[in-house]
């Protein structure tokens, strides 16, 4: 529990020790994966326009869909589901771990 002299601080970028720090680590990692795949891929498609790599992205097909169309239209929603599953499994684990440490039955 908090010590009386310490003021209460909540900050996403300066999480306190324990469960919150673990949780913030996974949050930042997932947000990175979310941002890179969503926006990073669009940058890539945009930057490669007209070049050999660009035509590779738009000419190669998967399920008869051009690669970039498949990636954005079909893979990204799936990727979001995967990210959410990873998050939940990880948070389940750290919650269990920190509950045990606190010697309390898991919520």
């Amino acid at each position: 529990m908090s010590r009386p002299e310490k003021s209460h601080k909540v900050n996403l970028f300066r999480p306190k020790e324990g469960h919150m720090r673990d949780e913030v680590h996974i949050i930042l990692a997932l947000l990175f994966g979310w941002g890179v795949c969503t926006f990073g891929f669009q940058f890539l498609v945009y930057a490669c326009r007209g070049t050999g790599a660009g035509s590779l992205l738009t000419r190669l097909t998967l399920f008869n869909l051009p690669l970039h169309f498949w990636f954005t239209g079909q893979f990204l929603p799936l990727w979001f589901i995967v990210l959410c599953v990873i998050f939940n499994i990880y948070v389940d684990r750290i919650s269990e771990y920190h509950s045990r440490r606190r010697d309390r039955s898991y919520e």
């Binding site: 209460h8 738009t58 929603p77 799936l78 979001f80």
Partner: protein, 506 residues
Amino acid sequence: MNDSSWSIFVVLLVLLSFILVGLRQKSRESHEYGFGGRYTGRIGGGAAIASNWMSAASLMGLAGIIYLRGYQGLAYVIGWTGGYVLLLVLLASQIRRFGKFTTPEFVGERYGSPAARLMAAVIAIAISVIYCVAQFKGIGLIFAFMFDIGYEQGVTYGALAVVSYLVISGALGVPRNQQLQYLVICVAFIVPLMWLAKKLGYFWLLPQFGYGRALTDLAREFRIDFTLPFAGDSLFEWCALCFTLMVGTGGLPHVLSRFYTVPNVRDARWSVVWGLFFIALIYWSAPAFAVFGRLLEARHGIVFAPETARAAADVIALKTALMAGLPGWLVGVLAAGALSAAFFTVAGLLMTGAASISHDLYYSFVNPKASERARMQVAKGGTLVLAALVLLVAMNPPGLIAEITAVAFALAGNTIFPLFLLGIWWDRANRYGAIAGMVTGVLCTVAAPLLGGILPGVASYFPVTASALCGAPLVICVMIAVSLATPAPPEEMRRFLEQEVHGHLD
């Protein structure tokens, strides 16, 4: 029976059966219903999240915008699914631990300010109204399509139908069975699509993949390249739209309040995963309607002028089904699915909007001594006023269904998302920051239509449907700056945040 009477019959049957099933359940287990429905496990919770989410925008607007704009339209698919990642990792369990059910309640409690609460209530109602305009457009189009009447007539009849549905189900006290709703909406969307794929000779078992071949045929036979990235629009526009829809998802009041229907945080988190899966099932399918529609038009030698194509876009799924010669009852099923999604969304939004008028505006500000009965009257009147207001705007809809909905998302992403984000993750955010943030957010949202004529630069950084890429970070900066320049929030709230919201396992 001809085609359109078949579809009217199917639609009536579906709506009636929802009321009957609801009544049956009510008499069987009336005590089990809590806030918004019965608890049925993680998968059931996910279906409820998905059915709460599905609206005319998902079932009509999405196919329409992809039909019209190809790759650019995929920004909607990504925005409306990726937003759930933000919601899950940043907000879901924390707002649940915070324990406030509605957006105005959260803002009022967290920032300890009646003024901020009032503003949040007004913004939440405005979001509902904009969202409903898009739904009304969808309902009006389907009515016009079924009865073969003009759009204005269609939307008027549609509004009457929604209000009578609200009155009937309200008078009978019908609970919403959201799991059943999702099942009906999903089947009504995917079965006609499978039929369509089979009829056109593509892989029909999973039309979500089968349409790839249609895309190739479209390019080979007619030289229509549907997938060209950033053809008419810039990278900035794509990313701004996508980001706006994502943060908007994280800030939509009726989405945020979903996390209270599940008994514990762990199940709430897992039901988001299922919800996202059920939503993605529809979103993987929507482009198929757009592609089949384009292909059929090309094969029939129909070339629309841009204006006509725009007008036809929102009913492209139904038009494609008709053009392919699907049986009348199946077209009816497709219409019934989209119509019930729009119906339930409108019903939910109008009721929560009216409840907010009655509680957050009337009871908290105008007349704190109001009796239960008077508040009920205000809520009922509020429903009608909101419905009339929505109808008035929907008579002359300002854009495609997906575009109108995107404006609601932009407003939510510019105002409510930053309020929740900083409210949960930064204890120093205070009421002055919140109020300044909301004012800035509203300004960002309306910047393009209001100032676009005078300052063209503003319109290019804050596009109407995509203002949150620049807007939300700006609002967050304003909130931080104003909060730091003004006194810190009460120690009590900061302790609550640290110990209850983030320290439940310390």
